[in-house]
């Protein structure tokens, strides 16, 4: 090799011209902003979360009867009143609390189980993978709604938390499969090997080196699973397997159902709230999928 080619890097301080430091989150936001539907979804999600958080402050009435039963929408009761004379608008607002809580809490349980099992199966592979994936297959093949009914009815006291727990415990298989496939391919990356050669333990590699690389997929999946949980809870409650003490949208639907023909507002508003929330999360999830995917150009 020619010795003239050699040159140790110059020591002099060079001025590096760098573009504005766009962080990952900022790039994602910039891409997300381009899609009207995603922004609509984000708006709905933020709006519903705000309503849920602030319900006690902004609801015009409490959860006690504040008018005559089954009053149609008026200036006083914008959404009308229900059979016991409670203000529908307030009920729907309080219902948002339950629904958003259910969605997020159940997704958290799903994430813990799904990521845990998928991660271990995908990273270690072999017999561990085989065992965990067959268990996953079993859960995957169960008809979910029926299992939910059976599982929920096993509890004598049905609080909202038992419903969340049951949903989270039954709904993780898809998450586990997706996470597993991510680990399966990423564990072959050179940077994983490099991390190993640096003395990192398997757990450190799984959680610290690989997990951030598939976080975007997990976020999208989790966002799109939230409306499912909200709908499942409403379905269970509507079928009479919910927590009768709560004021979730499902309960409102169940209570209003017998009066549907005479007074449309008792089920229309909780139904709409359910529809819009689930639509919002789905739109946001869709938008996030495109925004988080580095392959989709701005």
């Amino acid at each position: 090799m020619n010795s003239q080619l050699r040159r140790t890097p110059e020591k002099k301080k060079e001025k590096v011209h760098r573009p504005s430091r766009a962080t990952r989150i900022f790039v994602v936001w910039r891409k997300l902003r381009k899609s009207t539907l995603a922004i609509a979804g984000l708006f709905i999600v933020v709006f519903m979360s705000a309503v849920a958080l602030l319900a006690p402050v902004i609801a015009p009435y409490g959860l006690l009867p504040s008018g005559s039963p089954v009053e149609p929408p008026s200036m006083e009761h914008v959404f009308g009143t229900d059979v016991t004379g409670r203000d529908m608008l307030s009920l729907v607002m309080y219902g948002a609390r339950i629904s958003v809580y259910v969605g997020i809490a159940a997704v958290l349980i799903e994430l813990v189980i799904g990521i845990g099992i998928g991660m271990i199966a995908g990273y270690f592979g072999g017999i561990i993978d085989e065992i965990l994936m067959r268990i996953t297959d079993v859960f995957f093949s169960l008809p979910i709604l029926m299992m939910l009914l059976v599982a929920v009815s096993m509890f004598e006291v049905r609080s909202i938390n038992t419903i969340i727990l049951v949903m989270g415990v039954l709904e993780w298989p898809f998450m586990a499969r997706v996470v597993r496939s991510g680990y399966l391919s990423l564990r072959e990356e050179t940077y994983v090997e490099a991390a190993k050669s640096m003395g990192a333990s398997s757990w450190r590699i799984m959680l610290r080196h690989i997990l951030p690389n598939i976080l975007s997929v997990i976020i999208v999946l989790a966002t799109m699973d939230i409306p499912w949980f909200i709908l499942y809870e409403a379905t269970l409650t509507f079928l009479g397997f919910g927590d009768p003490m709560s004021s979730s949208w499902g309960i409102l639907l169940e209570n209003g159902f017998p009066h549907m023909r005479t007074s449309w507002w008792v089920i229309t508003f909780p139904g709409l709230a359910l529809l819009i929330t689930s639509l919002g999360f789905n739109l946001l999830g869709d938008g996030l999928r495109d925004a988080l995917d580095i392959k989709v150009r701005e």
């Binding site: 090799m1 050699r6 890097p9 060079e14 590096v16 940077y191 490099a194 050669s197 003395g199």
Partner: protein, 327 residues
């Protein structure tokens, strides 16, 4: 070529190391009874064609052989300790701290979601008990040492903002961050431009002096090897066929395979119409040829070569050859 004086105490010694890959088609003996030693502060080069088992040797030393591969026998003595007999937890303490490795693909050796500085600090965080701020300072120092300009700012960059050469510098920084006794470099310059190759080799040479580390350099390029190594081991089909000092191997190669390899280096001094090639391919390792594994491609093949496997013998001091021509 100057030969660096080395002490006689080997820092790493493998003894009849055997690493096999157990495939459905059969067992691949990727490393078959390989014995080699690296002395303190010495740079040893392992040369061979693709698939001769040289990378597997490197991975075996760190016990990072991938499934379905397994180390089936032999010893790896590092500072007198058999690495094959210690627990995985003890092995982890050695990796990155006392033995570190640099890989072939610099751009994919860095995790795309973390800043370079963060990753270079990983080994320090894993092996040294230092405060968070101190890690940053150390990372900045070592990045400056490997020649990253304005290291303080560039350590906050992500790998995709680095060039290939800079990524390899960062990888070397990561490997050297805990001042290892042995640095394994698995074809560290293969995917780089020639000028960058030269820079990286220069850097490794300079750092070798500074850190007093022994180096195990894996590669197929005699040019690269001659820049850095004191001693060369030539491997063929999972076995060591020749080993000796750099100058001995270059001036007086004994094994027909080594000779052929050296003849296939393009040279600007000698006029030649076509570059010399070694006929044939590396034999499939599931069913290696009987006798000497090189015999189907050897120019000097004798009847006996097809039956007897040559043992490795010392033809002169420090020069060992496994070939029946010298038995």
């Amino acid at each position: 070529m100057k030969v660096r004086p080395t002490t006689n105490e080997p820092i790493l010694k493998t003894d009849d190391l055997r690493t096999y890959y157990f495939l459905a088609e059969g067992t691949v003996k990727a490393v078959d009874k390989v014995s080699l030693k690296i002395n303190e502060q010495e740079a040893l080069g392992i040369v061979g064609e693709s698939g001769c088992g040289k990378s597997t040797v490197a991975h075996s030393i760190l016990r990072l052989v991938k499934e379905p591969g397994r180390i089936v026998g032999g010893k790896i003595l590092f500072e007198g300790q058999d690495l094959l007999r210690i627990s995985e937890a003890e092995m982890r303490k050695i990796r990155g701290d006392r033995i570190a490795m640099v890989f072939q693909n610099p751009t994919s050796s860095l995790n795309p979601v973390f800043t370079v500085g963060f990753q270079v600090g990983e080994a320090i965080k894993l092996h040294q008990n230092v405060q968070k701020q101190a890690v940053e300072g150390k990372v900045c120092d070592i990045l400056a040492k490997v020649g990253i300009p304005s290291a303080k700012e560039r350590m906050k960059d992500y790998p995709h903002e680095y060039s290939g050469g800079m990524c390899q510098r960062a990888m070397i920084a990561m490997a050297l961050s805990c001042s290892p006794k042995l640095l394994i470099a698995d074809e560290p310059t293969t995917n780089l431009d020639v000028t960058i190759q030269a820079q990286i080799l220069d850097l490794m040479k300079a750092l070798r002096k500074e850190f007093n580390a022994s180096i195990l350099l894996i590669g197929h390029d005699f040019g690269v090897m001659s820049e850095l190594c004191d001693r060369i081991v030539v491997m063929y089909s999972g076995k060591v066929v020749e080993s000796g000092d750099l100058s001995t191997i270059f001036r007086n190669p004994k094994h027909p395979y080594t000779k052929a390899l050296l003849e296939s280096i393009p040279s600007i001094n000698i006029e030649r119409e076509r570059l010399h090639v070694i006929p044939g391919d590396v034999p499939g390792l599931i069913k290696p040829p009987l006798g000497c594994r090189f015999h189907p491609r050897c120019e000097h093949v004798m009847e006996e070569c097809k039956k007897t496997e040559p043992s490795i013998i010392e033809v002169e001091k420090g020069h060992e050859v496994a070939c029946l021509l010298y038995h």
